[in-house]
């Protein structure tokens, strides 16, 4: 096995699970997350000579996030235009657990806002790093994060969330 293969194999062994989880949070689908990760890693491997000098992880992360956003946008168009009807929304259950409610709210966010939340609160990236991944300004990250958090609060109903949090920790 060549040095490149050893290096790449070590990187994948160390980081693939974390990247897979990020991909899942960004796209909301397990199969698509696996596809996103494999596609991103293939591109990374092809460019390993250039990518590995710094940390390859930001590069992979950027490919995954941008591909997830792009696919989500296309899916939005594909699902709305041909069917010309708004997506059905299931009735709000009162006894669903916090995880389910929050994940549904996260999935309901526009793709770029969802990406900001995932990068900021899952990857723990700074606003500057998030802006670099998304190729936008820090101001855009701030405004997208603010809007996303407002939607999460609004969609969930802060009181009920706090109630659930309280119950969960009781």
């Amino acid at each position: 096995m060549s040095d490149v293969e050893l290096d790449f194999g070590a990187f994948v062994a160390a980081r693939a699970t974390s990247l897979l989880r990020m991909a899942y949070l960004a796209c909301g689908d397990e199969t698509e997350a696996e596809d996103l990760l494999q596609t991103a890693l293939e591109r990374t491997y092809r460019n390993w000579d250039r990518v590995h000098r710094d940390s390859p992880e930001p590069y992979v992360r950027r490919v995954i996030i941008n591909a997830a956003i792009s696919r989500a946008r296309r899916r939005a168009i594909l699902s709305i235009i041909p069917m010309h009807s708004p997506p059905e929304r299931s009735a709000r259950a009162t006894d669903v657990d916090l995880r389910h409610v929050l994940m549904e709210a996260l999935r309901a966010l526009p793709p770029r806002q969802r990406a900001v939340i995932v990068l900021r609160y899952w990857e723990d990236l700074s606003e500057t790093q998030t802006a670099e991944v998304l190729g936008c300004s820090i101001g855009t990250v701030k405004s997208q994060a603010s809007k996303a958090m407002a939607k999460l609060r609004s969609g969930l109903g802060r009181e009920s969330v706090e109630g659930m949090i309280g119950n969960a920790h009781a």
């Binding site: 790449f8 194999g9 990187f11 994948v12 062994a13 693939a16 699970t17 990247l19 897979l20 989880r21 899942y24 949070l25 397990e30 199969t31 997350a33 696996e34 596809d35 990760l37 494999q38 890693l41 293939e42 491997y45 092809r46 941008n66 591909a67 956003i69 792009s70 696919r71 946008r73 296309r74 939005a76 168009i77 594909l78 709305i80 235009i81 041909p82 069917m83 010309h84 916090l98 995880r99 929050l102 994940m103 996260l106 526009p110 793709p111 770029r112 806002q113 939340i117 995932v118 609160y121 899952w122 997208q144 958090m149 999460l152 802060r158 969330v161 706090e162 949090i165 309280g166 920790h169």
Partner: protein, 243 residues
Amino acid sequence: MPTLEETIRQVMADETARLHAAPDLAERVMRSSRATRNRARVLTLATSVAVITAAPVGYLTLNSVATTGQAPSISATPEPPAIDDTPPVASAPPELGDLGDGREFGHVKVGYLPERLKWSNWSVDFGDSYSTAYNFDGDKNGFYCVQIYMYEEAAVQDIDSQIQRYRDEGEGEEVILGDRTGYLVVQDVGEDGGKGTPTLFLTMGAEQRAAIMFSPTYAKEFSGAEAVNTELKKIAEGLTPAN
């Protein structure tokens, strides 16, 4: 009490705890890349040094690249076929195939595109409706700038109903493009990054409609809605039936 941010972190950790990358992922990625590279080499050879051997391509083991000037060696042992080097496609919609520069797809030709746009290498084909897109770098996984969605035969009814709904709701405006008509509207299809998706629906005939869309992000590159609409109209005017 934890903050919402802390709760989100915990929920995301709980939700993803079950997910683990496949142990053979690195090997699959590398095998896939090798297979892609070998296919490219075989194609290069097929077009440049096809006279070297009459042996079946599958029985070539390529120890050198054609561009080095060295002849490839021939082995009696074929390389094992890469059986899992392509991502699963079961759930992916069918594509229109290689469209070259993307200026002709399905039953239409694209006569005008804004500057710098290239075919994105992405398309879908549902038979009586199909679509492709254009962006800056031709990256299939990149952002789209302009997408053209075609509706034909039975699919025309769907899109006509949608346009009628916009009319009924007072959204958008009728436009005339030479001897054809269209409908301009900013759709809310769930995209973020802007105020919606500027769209021009074009009637190309009794059984053919087109929806020409600008991504909200791309639309921001223009000076305003009027400039975007001007570009949409130019694309519509250049969109004609293929021979």
